[in-house]
Amino acid sequence: MAKHYAMVIQLKKCLGCQACTVACKFENKVPDGQYRTKSPAIGPSGTYPNVKVFFEKQACQMCQDAPCVKVCPTTASHYNKDGLVLIDSHKCVGCKYCMTACPYDARFINKNTGTADKCTFCYDTRLTKGEKPACVTTCVGGALLFGDANDPQSEVARYMATHRTEVRKAQFGTRPSVHYDYEGVK
């Protein structure tokens, strides 16, 4: 059976400590001032002393129906054999169509390469060696689960079978592979 890599983010466990943000920068040599993933604070909301705040990790959602792939004029943005949305930087001409199409604002033009860039789930540097993405490995709060959603025994599959998770901006019909569990934060 084909693989379907997925990530589950348990928001109540995210501390907003940005360990993932920095780990990603070094793992993927992301230039100064640019990010493939960030975890901004949402809030605080409410009125003193009943206040809430949480952090929401934001990166490429690895859509199964990805608008960026559809609009790419050079097929640089594509699905690889494991169903991940990746960018072939040799084919990318930097036209930014994908950046406009992405509902999650997950892409940017890499200052060093001049081509579109985004999260790859660390496909080349870690996944293919059997390691989890750098953000998952370094997560201090233990908020990130990662694995093959098509394998019912995997941590992500078991988690999603027993918890209510959501995808961001479901109305766009992009079918993301990144799932959010908002339990305990909203």
Binding site: C17, F26, A134, T137, T138
Partner: protein, 748 residues
Amino acid sequence: MQRRQFLKGALYGTGGTLVALSGLGAATAALNPRRAAAAAPVSRKTVYSSCEMCRNQCPIAVKVENGKVVKIDGNPNDSAFGGVICARGNSGPSLLYDPERIKKPMIRTGERGSGKFKEVSWDEAYTYIAQKLKAVQEQYGGEAVAQTSHIGPYDVFFQTIGKAIGSPNLFSHEATCPMARIIGLNTTFGTAAINADYANTKYLLVVGRNFFEGIHVAQTRAVAKALSQGTKMVVLDPRFSVLAAKGEWLPVKGATDLAFIMALANVLIDEKLYDEEFIKQYTVGFDKWAAQVQDKTPAWAAEETGISQDTIIRVARELAQAKPHSLIEYGWRTTFTADDFQLRRAIMIVNMMLGNFEVPGGYYQVKDAGTLKKVPAMAAYAKKLGPVKVPPFPKPKKGRIDGTGEKGTPRQLTPIADGAVGQITETILTGKPYPIKAWLVHRFNPVMSIGDTEKTLAAIKKLDLLVTCDVYMSDTAYNSDVVLPECTYLERTEQVFDMSGLTPKYVLRQQAVDPVYADTKPAWQIYKELGEKMGYGQYFPYKDIDDYVERQLAPTGISRKVFAEKGLWTPAGMKPFYVRSGDAKAPLTLLATKSKKIEIFSDAVQEATGAGVPVYVPYPQPGEGEFRLIEGKVAVHTNVGTHNVPVLHELMSENTLWINAQSAAKLGIKTGDTLIISAGKYEHKGTANVTEGIRPDTVFCYHGFGQISPQLTRAFGKGINDNKLIPDQLGSVGNSITSMTFVKVRKA
């Protein structure tokens, strides 16, 4: 022609940077360098080491490619880390390869604080320091030399200089951080080596600590694990921290935490919810404590703390219900008030009322080799590190400037290894009790860490010598006479660290790469070489750090190879050891107090302060139009040490002043407004962050911003330097007081 000879002589001779390699040259001249680069095989290795982006020394795995650090992970061989490391730990390469690091020893050429230096050789720097120190020693005595460091493995080398000179005035930074807790533990348990088993606790009450922004990876993970298993957490904090967001937030009135704790004790006694058996068997002085809290009712505490009576009663009952697997956190930076150590004692006393000592989910004594040796069944796991013997140091001729150790005064409780670091500037300025004329500083930044920045700068101007060793041109380095460049933790090996918890654990910091800037050196080498220059070679009897490590490991039988392969050592097969987990009546033979009991009433504290059990002292509260200024940590920075690290600076370059929405509305303040924060004597500009997440009588900023060294390009002048507003005021035991500053705020 002459010109050419001179240039060639200068640059091709001893002064050049390049050298012709024999056997190369013409033969390879045609090689395309780009192709050569592509063809060269990539050499990869992982070096296990220990982080130093903060003080906690977390075990790390450093990935090195072609001699360059490319990525840092937590050490996967340590189950407390499992490959995890925080944002600061991840950012190590950004410090390592920062062009702004100090690269050579420097001696001041302009006025002190003018920022004018020349670079010198190490030998010139050592000679200069040695001569100046000798001059001070001859004129004023060895005691006129003070030494301060943050606290760390370098101390054994750094402080050897001061000890050899005969100075008693060696200080750590602890008085500005956890010292009140250390004293609270020392006076109650006879040792400060008491840890908490957060991962297994079922109920956690946190008083003024912020596990999720002041990150200690192992402890933060343990708390996160407990929460994910359903542990309830209650957080007492005037500010809505990230930790508070993950539990029940009780916005306590500043400096009244002790009232809350005493009321908990009151309820536990009143409702007979405490562990009487435990108290009887293991403690002394409970009756005196019971008498002290008798009138500290929840109703009274509600008035004091601003937390409702019902809540206080409920928290007490919930703690009791989960006992002994419930705990009250004893705190990290314990500098709230003048008598903070009594709050820490009170917290531990209530913990003992929950009977949570030496059981899972409670407190425990650290099981290092020395402790385990006393337990026959466990002695086989105890591999005590060898001593590295040095000859006895001369006895200082005078007592310490801060009165540490003086019997019959509160300072008898102050740990001699720490002292009251805030005393130094006062003594330099007043010459009392005797002059301090030279100050050696290692990896510490008193200008930003001892209260009252301006006072510290004024004191520096009166010195004969100020030497700072650091990796950056810190605010203190900038004002120094001599600046010594230490290499970073990724470029040096250090001695074996004892990081024991429920089992023994040794960790080794191991050099991952050659120094990026060739003339930077590790602390052990700097102070050994300086010591030798000063004629103190006998106090540095080891050849180098590898020799030192060998001497440590020799009696243990542990091979150095273990550290190369795993980065750490723990005894194989040993399970976490709690003395009372199997037998609730097991004797606590490890207790280090004289009475061999847990001292709820402490004779030492009675002798020192007249309050053998904690007594409630009401502190002033902010008046009309005033706010209590509090400060804290953020997850992406460490104290005042990382604000110039490129990646971390990028993540957070500036702090703001948190102010409650209602209070701000009264003053017409909106988020983003520029404010003047006035503490009376000094004012500071800052940007407003109007929020619902803080008490109306309190303002808050993250610490360490607004640095004043112009040579910290990125961090210079960005944000609020809270340390300018907080006075250099010392508590009874010498702790700095940082939560008793009241400020007024207005729009700029």
